[in-house]
């Protein structure tokens, strides 16, 4: 993919250096059964101020990719087998803990799916936000607490001055996710990684949180890497999308192109397998399911990882992994078709 992208950028104008550029990343895990190739050669990049959606089903490696960026992977059992994670041109993989800590929160922040387990239950939310501010901005505790209340106000938590002294269990799920966003944004990072931020929330609360993230993006101008399995969320919030399957990127495209003209059979299947609320008036069709299940990442076969479930699979598909090729402006697909 690197070569393809280099060619395309040569052909057009020279693009600015991306904020984050992941090249050929391989994050593997050693288990009793052998090496699990969770992330197996992933290339993706995020430009300043854009929202990139990373979609895929459970076990496709989207979360491991995100955690690799912040080096939040336990090593062992995990290890970086190969690849580079270039943050503003600087490779993060060889960095020591102390160096990484300067990047975490201040430059790249992350919010998780489950807001209850990612907040510490024995400290007030104010303490937890203030800790981040204190640590990274070298402020006194008192100033940091004022900052924490200000952050709570920004994420539209009512009565921030009072709520800052409350504990996580006193907040609802949606409110906790607001607290997480307040904490993540307290140092005004350039990139926010949101790992399934709304999966645990009800649909009306999900709408509130997605709106809040958009509002915060407009305010702070950060880029967002939105990891999700929900195609609807991607369509409504992202500019560009990367589709992952079994540890590989299978398609990358601007959001309109991905939904308007999906090229990889897996992407096509994903889009067609979702029932659509807005098409209620049309004739009800049978859902197009993708047969079979995700292959094991223990000892993946040499060819295309989707071949065993693909209805267009040919003999060549099982022999070699097809490269990512450009099929439209910024539209890459890993398929021989």
């Amino acid at each position: 993919m690197r070569s393809t992208r280099a060619e395309s950028s040569d052909a057009s104008v020279c693009v600015a250096e991306p904020l984050l550029d992941i090249r050929g990343l391989k994050t593997w895990f050693k288990t009793d059964d052998g090496m699990v190739r969770a992330v197996d050669g992933v290339d993706l990049h995020i430009d300043r101020g854009e929202t990139l959606g990373v979609v895929g089903e459970s076990g496709c490696g989207k979360t491991v990719t995100a955690r690799s960026v912040l080096k939040l992977i336990d090593m062992p059992p995990g290890r970086f087998e190969d690849g580079e994670i270039l943050w503003q041109g600087r490779n993060l993989i060889p960095l020591e803990q102390a160096e990484m800590n300067k990047i975490r929160a201040r430059e790249i922040a992350i919010i998780f799916q489950e807001p209850m387990t990612s907040l510490n239950p024995v400290y007030t939310v104010g303490d937890q936000i203030a800790e981040v501010i204190e640590l990274h901005q070298k402020l006194s505790r008192k100033q940091a607490l004022v900052g924490a209340a200000e952050m709570l106000r920004l994420v539209n938590i009512p009565h921030p001055q009072r709520r800052v002294h409350d504990y996580p269990h006193q907040f609802s799920g949606g409110m906790r996710q607001r607290v997480m966003i307040a904490m993540a944004l307290s140092c005004q990072p350039k990139l926010l990684i949101a790992d399934e931020p709304t999966t645990a929330l009800d649909v009306t609360i999900q709408a509130q949180i997605l709106e809040l993230m958009q509002e915060m993006k407009d305010k702070f101008g950060m880029a967002i890497m939105l990891i999700t399995h929900a195609m609807g969320v991607v369509a409504e919030t992202c500019q560009r999308v990367t589709v992952m399957y079994a540890g590989k990127v299978v398609e990358e495209a601007p959001v309109e192109a991905l939904f308007g003209n999906p090229r990889h059979p897996y992407t096509q299947g994903l889009i067609r397998s979702i029932p659509r609320v807005d098409r209620a008036a049309e004739k009800k069709q049978r859902l197009e399911a993708i047969a079979g299940t995700v292959p094991s990442l223990l000892d993946p076969p040499p060819g295309c990882r989707f071949a065993s479930r693909c209805k267009h699979a040919m003999e060549v598909c099982t022999r070699a992994m097809p490269p990512l090729k450009e099929v439209g402006p910024g539209h890459f697909v890993r398929c021989v078709l």
């Binding site: 009800d202 009306t204 195609m231 369509a235 807005d278 859902l287 197009e288 399911a289």
Partner: protein, 329 residues
């Protein structure tokens, strides 16, 4: 009180069903408060149809499903299955009834006994209800059931941990079908599954309904899934049904402001579709002390002062389309 009627012959009628969970406290575990999980729910299900039950977490949809089967004892109300009141049945009658009413659970990991083989899990109900004459007959039936849900005959000797989430849900479905039920309560059967697998299971449920003439009560929080599979849909909010209508009617022309907001919040997987979103403020109120009058008035965009005083009745606004709102319909 007569509830919203479906068109066909009624299989199940739920009348003013209530379930209050007691909250105990203090040294003597006195009842200090009550959670009104289900607060007067009525609906009918016709034979052969699918009634979808949607709502956000804590609205009482799962509790309703379990009260119907008496997996949870209802506090009051009637559940009439083919005319007989389930809530008054003694143990024997209830056991016989369970042949006619089965349930499929959300979590395919927690709902299968990890120590039993798949064959034993599916065959258990057959043995309990004396539905197999011999060992051979039992095994034949299990094989037949496995094939019906798209699994292999040799899977019967394996254990649940050897299967993926989607396959386990198929095992759960085979177990429910073993006793040839009339009504199957599907409690969030696809919400733990990935989208591509979700479609497989939805298609399977639709095929089985056609093949065996099953009636479903389909409980889910995902409105697009419910719309797809249901004949009619009931929307719940804080223990009460706020709207019931034929599926397409509900989605094309929602009457209750809550239904409207819920529908507009569902993200559409198409970036070219731009809709006006009705943003609801705040969270669902605490069901221990639900708001007075209409439960929705605290978040309702069209609430008027008397919504806090008067409880709206579920009334028929158009044929088959029932809504509980003072100002809509």
């Amino acid at each position: 009180m007569s509830g919203p009627q479906p068109s066909g012959e009624t299989l199940l009628s739920v009348r003013d069903l209530r379930k209050h969970f007691a909250i105990t406290g203090g040294v003597f575990s006195r009842v200090v408060d009550k959670v009104h999980a289900v607060d007067g729910v009525s609906f009918d299900i016709a034979a052969g149809e699918t009634l979808g039950l949607v709502g956000e977490s804590g609205c009482g949809k799962s509790t309703t499903g379990r009260c119907i089967l008496r997996l949870i004892e209802p506090s009051s109300g009637e559940v009439l299955f083919q005319g007989a009141d389930v809530t008054k049945m003694k143990t024997d009658a209830l056991r016989a009834l369970r042949r006619d009413m089965q349930i499929i659970f959300q979590d395919p990991y927690a709902s299968l006994n990890p120590r039993l083989t798949v064959g034993a899990i599916i065959g258990e109900a057959l043995t309990i209800h004396n539905l197999a004459a011999s060992r051979q007959a039992l095994e034949d039936r299990v094989v037949q059931l496995l094939e019906t849900v798209g699994l292999q005959p040799d899977h019967m000797r394996r254990f649940p941990h050897e299967f993926s989430g989607g396959q386990r849900q198929r095992i759960g479905i085979a177990r429910a079908l073993a006793v040839e039920p009339k009504l199957v309560i599907c409690d969030e059967p696809v919400s733990a599954l990935d989208v591509s697998i979700q479609a497989q299971v939805i298609n399977l449920l639709e095929d089985l309904q056609e093949q065996f003439g099953l009636t479903y009560l389909f409980i889910a929080h995902d409105l697009s899934v419910v719309e797809h599979i249901s004949t009619r849909v009931a929307v719940m909010y804080l223990g009460r049904v706020v709207e019931i209508a034929p599926s397409r009617d509900l989605y094309d022309n929602p009457l209750h402001p809550y239904t409207e907001a819920l529908l507009s919040a569902v993200p559409i997987p198409d970036p070219t579709v731009k809709r006006k979103r009705i943003m609801l403020q705040g969270d669902v109120p605490n069901p221990i002390r639900p708001p007075s009058g209409c439960h929705f008035h605290t978040r309702c965009p069209i609430a008027k002062p008397d919504c806090a005083q008067r409880v709206p009745e579920l009334r028929e606004s158009k044929p088959g389309h029932w809504v509980s709102c003072h100002y809509r319909g």
